[in-house]
C-alpha cells in the first residue's frame, strides 16, 4: 500500500485504538515525535502499551502522554532519569506497569519483528534478573538467552524529511530507534521536518525506504 501524506497530526493518529501497542521513537527528546504524541493525547486512546527507550523526559512528549493517564504498560530500557518525574510518580503509585529490557535487546526484538524472525539468542542479560523466565541455550560453549520479537500496532517516529514515496532521511543522533521501529509496526507514522517534491531525496541517501512507512505528516 502506498503512503498517505496527512494534512495534520490529528488526521494521522485518528484511528489509534484503545489497548494498542505504540512504538515511540526517540532517545530522550532527540527524535521524539512530540507533535504526534500531542495529537494522540487529544485523540484520547487509552490503555496503551508504549515501547520507547525512555519513559518520558520533563513534562512534554511521552511524559505528557503518561501524565494524561493513557498508558497502562511501559516497555523501555532506561526509565529512571533526572527528569523522569512523571513516570517515577506513576510507577511508585502503582499506576503503571514496567518491563525493563536491555537497550540492544529492545532494538533487536523490534528488528526481529520487522524482519519476520521468530526469536533470537543473545548473551545480553545471561545470569541476571532479566533472564528470569527466559529459555537459555548453550551454543558452541556459550550460553545465550532466547528473546522474542516485539511488534507494534502503530509506530510514531520522527525524521528530517520524507518524499511522496514515504522514503525517510534523518538528522544526526535523532535517527536512533526510528528506522527499526518503522519496520516493526503494522502502521508507521512519520513526523517529518518537510515533505519534499518527488525526486527530492537522493535514493543513495535514503535510510528508511517507503515500504516501511504508511503515513507522513510535516511539522
Amino acid at each position: 500500500m502506498g503512503v498517505q501524506v496527512c494534512a495534520d497530526h490529528d488526521e494521522a493518529v485518528a484511528d489509534v485504538r484503545d489497548g494498542s501497542t505504540v512504538l515511540i521513537g526517540g532517545f530522550g527528546l532527540a527524535g521524539m515525535p512530540t507533535r504526534l504524541i500531542d495529537a494522540l493525547i487529544r485523540q484520547g486512546a487509552r490503555d496503551l502499551t508504549v515501547v520507547s527507550n525512555n519513559a518520558g523526559n520533563g513534562d512534554t512528549g511521552l511524559a505528557a502522554l503518561l501524565d494524561a493517564g493513557r498508558v497502562r504498560r511501559m516497555i523501555c530500557s532506561f526509565p529512571r532519569q533526572h527528569d523522569s518525574h512523571v513516570f517515577d510518580r506513576l510507577y511508585r503509585a502503582g499506576e503503571i506497569e514496567l518491563e525493563v529490557v536491555p537497550q540492544g535487546t529492545l532494538a533487536e526484538r523490534m528488528r526481529a519483528a520487522g524482519a519476520g524472525i521468530g526469536g533470537f539468542y543473545c548473551r545480553t542479560g545471561v545470569g541476571t534478573l532479566l533472564a528470569e523466565g527466559k529459555e537459555t541455550r548453550e551454543i558452541d560453549g556459550t550460553t545465550y538467552l532466547l528473546e522474542k520479537p516485539l511488534p507494534g500496532d502503530i509506530a510514531f517516529i520522527k525524521a528530517h524529511a520524507a518524499d511522496h514515496a514515504g522514503n525517510l532521511v534523518y538528522r544526526k543522533t535523532a535517527r536512533n530507534f526510528g528506522p527499526v521501529m518503522a519496520t516493526a509496526a503494522r502502521c508507521t507514522i512519520a513526523e517529518v521536518g518537510e515533505v519534499v517534491a518527488p525526486g527530492g531525496l537522493d535514493p543513495e541517501a535514503v535510510v528508511t525506504p517507503g515500504i516501511y512507512v504508511d503515513r507522513v505528516v510535516s511539522a
Binding site: F27, G28, L29, A30, G31, N53, N57, S77, F78, P79, R80, Q81, S84, F87, D88, Y91, R92, L98, V100, V101, P102, Q103, G104, T105, L106, A107, E108, M110, R111, C122, R123, T124, G125, V126, G127, T128, L129, L130, Y170, R171, K172, T173, A174, R175, N176, F177, G178, P179, V180, V207
Partner: protein, 217 residues
C-alpha cells in the same frame, strides 16, 4: 608488568587520565554515562581513539557549547556533543550490533560492585522502591572486548566495592577485565585478582580492606 606506587589516592581526573593513557591508539571505545565520560577529556588528540555513543554515532566529539548546541546531536547521557571528521550516524539496531558483536575494543563503566571473578553490578540497587534502569549496560558488559570499571574502591560508608561476590543484582557475569580505583588498579583474569598499581595505600592495608585474595604485579 611491575607494580606502580604513588603516595596519594587519585582524584577523579587523575583516574580518568590514567585510564585514557591505557587505551590503545586507534581503539574504538564506549564510555559509560557518569564518571567514565571524564576519560574523554584526557585522550590525546593524536591517539586516534574513536568514541562510540550507543545512540548511534562514531567519532563523537567533545561536549557542545553555545552556538554548537544541536538538540539532534547528543550523547548517551543526553548531553549535547559535537561531531569530529570521520563521524558516522546509524540506527539503534546497528549501534548495538557494534556493541554486542565484539566490535568495540574497550568500554569503561561505573560500578556499584565488582566481584573477584569479574561479575559486574551497576544497574540496580535492588532496593524495594528503586526504579530499575539498565540502558545499554548489559550489552556493553557482554559485548566489548575489554570491559574496564572506573570507581572509588570504597562506598561513602567505607565498605569495599571489590568483593568476593556481588550483593547487588548483576549486570553481567565474569565480564570485567580491569578495575581502576582511586587507590589501586586491579587486573582480573581467570579468577585471580592482580594489583598493578597502588596510590596512597600500603599492600597490607589493601589486603585487609578488600577480603579478596590479591596478587601483586
Amino acid at each position: 608488568m611491575s607494580l606502580r606506587i604513588t603516595d596519594a589516592p587519585r582524584s577523579k581526573d587523575e583516574l580518568a587520565a590514567a585510564i585514557a593513557a591505557d587505551i590503545p591508539a586507534g581503539a574504538y571505545v564506549n564510555l559509560g554515562i557518569g564518571q567514565p565520560t571524564l576519560v574523554a577529556d584526557h585522550l590525546r588528540d593524536d591517539g586516534g581513539v574513536v568514541l562510540h555513543t550507543e545512540n548511534g554515532m562514531l567519532h563523537m566529539g567533545p561536549a557542545a557549547h553555545g552556538d554548537e548546541i544541536d538538540p539532534d546531536l547528543i550523547n548517551a547521557g543526553k548531553v549535547p556533543v559535537t561531531e569530529l571528521p570521520g563521524a558516522s550516524y546509524f540506527h539503534h539496531a546497528d549501534s548495538f550490533a557494534m556493541m554486542r558483536g565484539g566490535h568495540l575494543d574497550v568500554c569503561v563503566l561505573g560500578a556499584f560492585q565488582v566481584s573477584a571473578t569479574g561479575d559486574l553490578a551497576n544497574w540496580h540497587t535492588g532496593a524495594d522502591d528503586a526504579i530499575p534502569a539498565v540502558g545499554g549496560a548489559m550489552d556493553l558488559a557482554v559485548g566489548a572486548r575489554s570491559v574496564w570499571v572506573m570507581m572509588t574502591l570504597r562506598t561513602r560508608e567505607g565498605a569495599p566495592k571489590l568483593v568476593p561476590s556481588c550483593a547487588y543484582p548483576l549486570t553481567g557475569v565474569a565480564c570485567v577485565d580491569r578495575v581502576y580505583t582511586d587507590v589501586a588498579t586491579f587486573d582480573l583474569a581467570e579468577g585471580a585478582v592482580t594489583v598493578t598499581s597502588l596510590h596512597g595505600v600500603a599492600r597490607g592495608e589493601l589486603e585487609a580492606l578488600v577480603e579478596v585474595p590479591l596478587r601483586f604485579a
